[in-house]
């Protein structure tokens, strides 16, 4: 049977991709940030998951504002990266798993999550940066992946609660897949930041850390917070942290935190890393 062996949260900001491309990992500005990923990379190498489900938002590569799916999932055998128009390095492709995608889609729709189904899907930095942080800058990553895109660009957006419930349904879908495979969930984006208006430049360390602790121990806490409240505390783009809730929901009620790391500022954001393992009590 398919099994979720862990959940990871990560920033996906383009500045990280540029730092990797320019080999700045030991630069004083970046060192502490990149060091925080080492235990996660070691864990991945030791546990060798077969597939990653990457929860991210598209920033105007695969989707334009003509058609905005609230939740979209890939159902392809391969996913290409592509030119985003503003100078980010284009990497290669990642292998998908169409059979698992369709199983997940059938299960999610049956459980009232009406996913947009994508048999072709270009993946942008929201997907690529975490893959690169975790598995290196590759033309072909050594792991299969399924992209799951959440709309965090165009309001109205799904609530943290809805994201958490989607994660729970995703966990149920994976648990009923007959193939023996190890799966990791990656919740990307955040944490606090705002990229527009006179209020740009928000970083709210207290709220970020409260989110991290609650997402580990009491994720229902975030389900009671509205998107307006999240934006007022963490900035308009800080709303991306709701995507961590998809990852967290899939892991079950209790988790063991294996690693947690936070650094700020990284570019315009607070950057948090979690590595969580589903508890055997679930």
């Amino acid at each position: 049977m398919a099994k979720i062996i862990g959940g990871i949260s990560s920033s996906h900001i383009p500045a990280i991709g540029k730092a990797i491309a320019n080999k700045l990992q030991n630069d004083p500005y970046w060192k502490r940030f990149f060091d925080g990923y080492e235990p996660v990379r070691e864990w991945l190498q030791a546990n060798k998951p077969d597939l990653a489900i990457v929860v991210y938002n598209d920033h105007g590569l695969n989707f334009f504002l003509d058609t905005v799916p609230t939740f979209a999932i890939g159902a392809a055998s391969t996913y290409q990266t592509a030119d985003e128009g503003w100078g980010l390095k284009t990497q290669g492709s990642v292998a998908g798993d169409a059979q698992l995608s369709w199983h997940i889609i059938e299960s999610l729709v049956e459980n009232e999550f009406d996913m947009t189904i994508c048999q072709e899907m270009l993946v942008d930095h929201g997907f690529v940066v975490p893959m690169t942080l975790l598995w290196g800058e590759e033309n072909e990553w050594p792991i299969k992946a399924i992209p799951l895109a959440v709309n965090t660009v165009q309001h109205p957006m799904p609530s943290a609660q809805r994201c958490y419930r989607l994660g729970q349904a995703l966990g149920k879908a994976i648990a009923s897949y007959p193939e023996d495979m190890k799966i990791v969930l990656i919740g990307t984006g955040g944490m606090s930041h705002q990229l527009q208006g006179q209020r740009a430049g928000i970083i709210n360390v207290d709220f970020d850390l409260e989110c991290m602790e609650k997402i580990i121990h009491d994720p229902e806490w975030l389900t009671r917070i509205s998107n307006t409240e999240i934006m007022s505390k963490a900035g308009t783009e800080g709303i991306e942290t709701i995507m961590w809730m998809v990852m967290r929901g899939a892991l079950g009620e209790k988790v063991n935190p294996l690693h947690k790391h936070y650094h700020a500022p990284i570019s315009n954001t607070g950057a948090g890393v979690l590595l969580l393992e589903p508890s055997s009590d679930n």
Binding site: G36, P39, G60, L65, W86, Q154, G201, I203, V205, N227
Partner: protein
């Protein structure tokens, strides 16, 4: 025929990208989306005004695009991820655009980010369990 109010309208200094803004700025964002193609970027770089006309931008939208006035483009319904695709033609990053929207220099904007992050390591120590905290 009225745009509904939202509880987030009262967040200061903030443009929540909702239906009203997306409707208003659709052509600006559509033009910016076209810059995912290198060919289109080259055409825009050759004659920004003519390219704006092709997307039927209004005179104030066109003027803001050509001038790289990101505060104005935001007011006109530009979305930051699409504006990033325009900013590069003006030699600007998102961070530079953010600084401009706040009427400060990029250096001052970076200082703002650092100030907002001050003391985070002490906070990590207080909670405990953080790597390198």
């Amino acid at each position: 025929m009225v745009w509904q109010k939202h509880d987030y309208d009262s967040i200061p200094g903030t443009f929540v990208f909702n239906g009203e803004r997306s409707n208003k700025g659709y052509q600006i964002n559509k033009m910016a989306f076209s810059f995912n193609s290198a060919e289109n970027r080259a055409e825009f770089a050759r004659d920004m005004g003519a390219y704006c006309d092709k997307f039927e931008l209004k005179p104030d939208e066109k003027a803001a695009v050509v001038a790289g006035d990101f505060g104005r483009l935001l007011e006109l319904g530009g979305n930051i991820y699409y504006l990033a695709k325009i900013a590069i033609f003006h030699g600007m990053s998102i961070q530079d655009a953010c600084a401009k929207m706040s009427n400060i220099t990029t250096e001052e904007f970076i200082q703002r980010l650092q100030k907002n992050s001050e003391g985070f390591q002490q906070k990590l120590d207080n909670i405990g369990g953080y790597f390198g905290g």
